[in-house]
């Protein structure tokens, strides 16, 4: 019994790890390839989550809904809405230099959070949306459903990975890295820097929206606290830096490694005396903050460093 419990604990860790892997791949497109500093990951994640939830839930008097579309439509809608949000943001902010883009993206995440909390006709405010369907929810229930969902999440990870890898080795990706490494020379070579950055930002945001949708269908319930800006945004940054920014495999490995550490510390701290349990989550946050400092100083290229593809000479 202990063993099956452990097995399904592992399944739940892998599902969440897969969702983080999708987020990490998205950030890798924006930061690793394009050098765009997005500190508002949680905002786009939330947009995706709410879009998919609203599109797929049954009629409710508490929030917009009642479309009851199948889940694949929810995922696509999440990507489109998050992508369009990203497009609006990028249209205004993408010309800003790195530090300023960081400030602006923090602000955008904050405004998206304000909208989610305040516009209760759309999102039911802080009470959240209940009854978000799980795929094949009618056929399988309980733990078997988790296994099925695990497969679906990692199928998405695979699809996103293939897409990102294609982007990376394509001429488009090469141009992007040229812009990242030396903007002036890329501009001198006739590349439309702002246009490439806009595309990068939108693609990244759309993938973040997909991750949000996956998490909404996993938890079946969605409230503003599920998109705690700090935890989502910050963990994903630590994951990408640790895994190796610029490398798609590194992004996935980093996401899994950090998520395993995060979950393992949860097991350890849950055995502490009760008065320490509430404090333990702060200790974990502290440790993640210190881990980032360590990675930045001693381990900057990450677990799997970026390796530019060879230039074919034919």
């Amino acid at each position: 019994m202990e063993l099956t419990g452990l097995f399904f604990y592992l399944v739940s860790v892998l599902i969440a790890g897969g969702i983080y892997a999708v987020l990490c791949l998205a950030l890798n497109v924006q930061w690793g390839m394009g050098g765009l500093f997005n500190a508002g990951i949680a905002g786009f994640f939330a947009v995706g989550a709410y879009t998919s939830a609203i599109v797929t839930t049954a009629v409710s008097t508490k929030h917009l809904g009642g479309f009851e579309l199948p889940i694949p439509f929810g995922l696509v809608a999440a990507m489109i809405v998050a992508g369009v949000t990203g497009w609006v943001v990028a249209k205004i902010c993408v010309r800003l230099k790195s530090d300023y883009l960081a400030m602006a993206s923090v602000g955008i995440a904050e405004i998206l959070r304000l909208v989610i909390v305040n516009e209760s006709w759309l999102t039911n405010g802080s009470l959240g949306i209940a009854g978000v369907p799980r795929p094949f929810g009618d056929l399988v229930q309980g733990r078997e459903a988790d296994l099925l969902y695990l497969a679906m999440v990692w199928l998405c990870v695979l699809a996103v990975y293939i897409l990102c890898q294609r982007l990376y080795v394509s001429p488009w990706g090469r141009t992007l890295r040229a812009i990242r490494d030396n903007e002036d020379s890329a501009r001198a070579a006739g590349k439309d820097v702002d246009w490439f950055r806009l595309q990068t930002f939108v693609i990244g945001c759309a993938i973040m929206g997909l991750a949000g949708a996956l998490s909404a269908h996993y938890f079946k319930f969605l409230s503003p606290s599920a998109t705690e800006p700090l935890l989502v945004t910050f963990l994903v940054w630590v994951m990408l830096m640790a895994g190796g920014s610029g490398n798609n495999k590194g992004a996935i490995v980093g996401a899994l490694a950090i998520w395993f550490i995060w979950s393992a510390t949860e097991i350890i701290t849950s055995r502490l005396p009760p008065e320490w349990i509430t404090r333990s989550s702060y200790i974990r946050m502290l440790l993640v903050g210190l881990l980032l400092q360590f990675v930045l100083q001693k381990f900057r290229s990450g677990l799997i460093p970026e390796k530019s593809p060879k230039i074919r000479s034919d």
């Binding site: 500093f37 500190a39 205004i92 902010c93 010309r95 800003l96 230099k97 790195s98 530090d99 300023y100 960081a102 400030m103 602006a104 923090v106 602000g107 955008i108 904050e110 405004i111 304000l114 909390v117 305040n118 700090l230 910050f234 940054w237 630590v238 830096m241 404090r279 702060y282 200790i283 946050m285 502290l286 993640v288 903050g289 210190l290 980032l292 400092q293 930045l296 100083q297 900057r300």
Partner: protein, 296 residues
């Protein structure tokens, strides 16, 4: 009109003073170390909690115990600079920005660990506002905050224009290479930047905590407005940051005034978006700010 002054303008000046004191540090650090310090809000939180703790042990008015909070914030700032920012100084500054995100998280989790995550007040109970000329009703705290901020602004002005250290700071901010060639000790300037930035951040943290209550997210929630204030005043221009802070504070509060109809112009729940839109508009159309700050 009286309502406008009592309920919008004075609170706007008060929160504006908090932004101003925080933005001075952000602007100076941005000017001298050339990175956006995302942990500055949480440095305010640390300073605020320092004073809160002092109040528990020494029964004095919180504002008299400010030096305790300042000392704590200065110590924290110098420590993170030494251990976390200095090793990254040779790299592109964006790495320091990422590091400062981590430091923000470290500060906040320490605050939650030591002072719990709930709301705590400096002085409990409601005090009636002071009434002037039978019309102006201003709370004692708001008056103290505004006057103290003005005194600090004047002192800062004289420090930057008259003292040797202040002039060295402006030199490093304006022309780092020239300042180094002229033999200025850059590391000393950097240290003093942290000392002044952290001391003012602690002051702002106490003001903000006394106006509402202390909680671990206090500083982080104010960060965006302080960035907007620093950009508005011009990066590397401390006096500009003070003006920028006051303007952002007044803009935020008065945006919810009933300007056009009986409805507030902007719903109060969207108040914090005002600073953001001012900042983005500035970055796009006048990135050097009002006072010709540096362009990065």
């Amino acid at each position: 009109m009286i309502d406008f002054i009592n309920l919008y303008l004075v609170p706007g000046l008060t929160i504006g003073s908090v932004y101003a004191l925080g933005a001075v540090g952000i602007s100076m650090i941005f000017g001298i170390l050339r990175f956006a310090h995302f942990a500055h809000g949480d440095l305010m939180t640390i300073g605020g909690y320092g004073v809160l703790t002092a109040v528990w042990f020494i029964p004095l008015h919180p504002l008299l115990l400010l030096p305790v909070g300042m000392a704590l914030a200065i110590g924290a700032a110098l420590a993170v600079d030494e251990f976390f920012y200095k090793p990254l100084r040779k790299l592109p500054t964006i790495y320091t920005v990422i590091a400062s995100f981590g430091v923000a998280l470290i500060f906040r989790s320490l605050a939650q660990l030591f002072w719990s995550s709930g709301n705590q007040v400096f002085v409990s109970g409601v005090r009636p506002p002071m009434v002037f000329f039978d019309t102006f009703r201003i709370s004692e705290l708001h008056l103290q905050v505004i006057i103290l901020t003005l005194i600090i602004a004047v002192a800062l002005h004289f420090f930057l224009t008259r003292s040797k250290l202040g002039r060295a700071m402006r030199a490093v901010s304006d022309e780092p290479e020239l300042a180094a060639v002229a033999g200025l000790d850059t590391e000393r300037v950097v240290r003093w930047t942290w000392v002044i930035g952290a001391a003012l951040a602690a002051t702002a943290g106490v003001f903000a905590g006394m106006d509402t209550s202390m909680h671990p997210n206090l500083g982080w929630n104010l960060l965006l407005a302080m960035f907007a204030a620093a950009v508005l005043g011009g990066i590397g221009k401390p006096m500009g940051a003070i003006a920028g802070g006051l303007i952002i504070g007044i803009a935020e509060e008065t945006a919810t005034f009933t300007w056009l109809s009986d409805e507030p112009l902007i719903s109060p729940s969207y108040k914090s978006a005002v600073a953001f839109f001012i900042m983005v508009a500035l970055l796009l159309f006048r990135p050097q700010g009002l006072f010709k700050g540096r362009l990065l």
